[in-house]
């Protein structure tokens, strides 16, 4: 990796941090994507509508960005449909019982120096590394 490779992640990350601050400023809410997504599953609550609108913003951005840079959405690794389906289930169950994901714990939680979120982030980074190690180093990069 050269120095220039760190620029897009830094800029993208800054936008994520900015959006998290804006959601706090405007709506008074924490930008945890798994909680926002899970909350959309409970229609009728006070937070349902803005959560739904936030998700619409995410999906529409995907459509627009894809027109400009389709290469930003390449899957790029050898994973079967079964593995992808299992991974989705693990992420859905894990973020629900663990109350957060990379955004809620990793960005917002760490930014307010929550010990709980720091530990959660260390945990999912560690098991993410284990999964990547097992698939790439022990199973030859395909599963």
């Amino acid at each position: 990796m050269s120095l220039i490779d760190s620029v897009p992640p830094l800029i993208g990350g800054a936008l994520i941090g900015l959006a998290s601050t804006l959601l706090l400023l405007v709506h008074g809410r924490i930008a945890g994507i798994s909680s926002i997504c899970g909350g959309v599953l409970s229609p009728g609550t006070a937070d349902w509508l803005w959560r739904f609108a936030f998700i619409v913003g995410l999906v529409l951005t995907g459509f627009i960005a894809f027109q400009q840079m389709p290469e930003a959405f390449e899957y790029g690794v050898d994973r079967s449909y079964g593995a992808v389906a299992a991974a989705g289930l693990l992420v859905g169950i894990g973020t629900t019982i663990g109350s957060g994901c990379t955004s809620g714990h990793g960005v917002c939680g760490i930014s307010r120096m929550s010990k709980r979120s720091v530990l959660a982030t260390m945990t999912f980074m560690a098991t993410g590394a284990i999964a990547a190690f097992v698939v790439n180093q022990l199973l030859g990069g395909a599963v």
Binding site: G13, V26, I55, G57, L60, A83, G88, R112
Partner: protein, 135 residues
């Protein structure tokens, strides 16, 4: 209505950040998590940028009496470290490292990332619904 438009715009900024940073590339995410392999540290800078900006601006927001279009700032956020937190985070990480998607990038990719993004978001929502129903 303005509250909803604001939420969609903030979601769009968030989504743009995910796309620009490379988080919608599962191969890059897995390359970042694979410390033992050909480690690609680039995505670590997403955390640096996001935490740097959010940490340095959130305290300014919290000096206000309340949010612009909401009732109150979050209060009484959970602080307990228990088995649910750690088991949940562990399961989430396994899924993240297996498919290379976490919730945000998967949702941004859902319309354009092909069948695997669809499938991932579908089973992720199923997992959320199942575990919400149980608790």
């Amino acid at each position: 209505m303005s509250r909803l438009i604001a939420a969609a715009l903030i979601g769009a900024i968030f989504g743009l950040g995910l796309v620009i940073s490379g988080m919608t590339l599962p191969a890059k995410v897995i390359g970042f998590l694979d410390f033992a392999g050909d480690w690609d540290p680039a995505l670590g800078f997403v955390m640096v940028g996001a935490i740097g900006v959010h940490m340095s601006t959130r305290w300014l927001v919290l000096r206000r009496d309340g949010p612009v279009m909401g009732d109150a700032f979050p209060a009484g956020l959970p602080t307990q470290i228990d088995r649910r937190l750690l088991i949940g985070a562990a399961l989430f990480g396994l899924g993240w490292g297996l498919a290379g998607y976490c919730p945000g990038p998967a949702i941004v990719s859902v319309g354009v990332g092909g069948a695997k993004a669809w499938l991932f978001v579908g089973t992720m929502i199923l997992g959320m619904a199942l575990s919400r129903a149980r608790s």
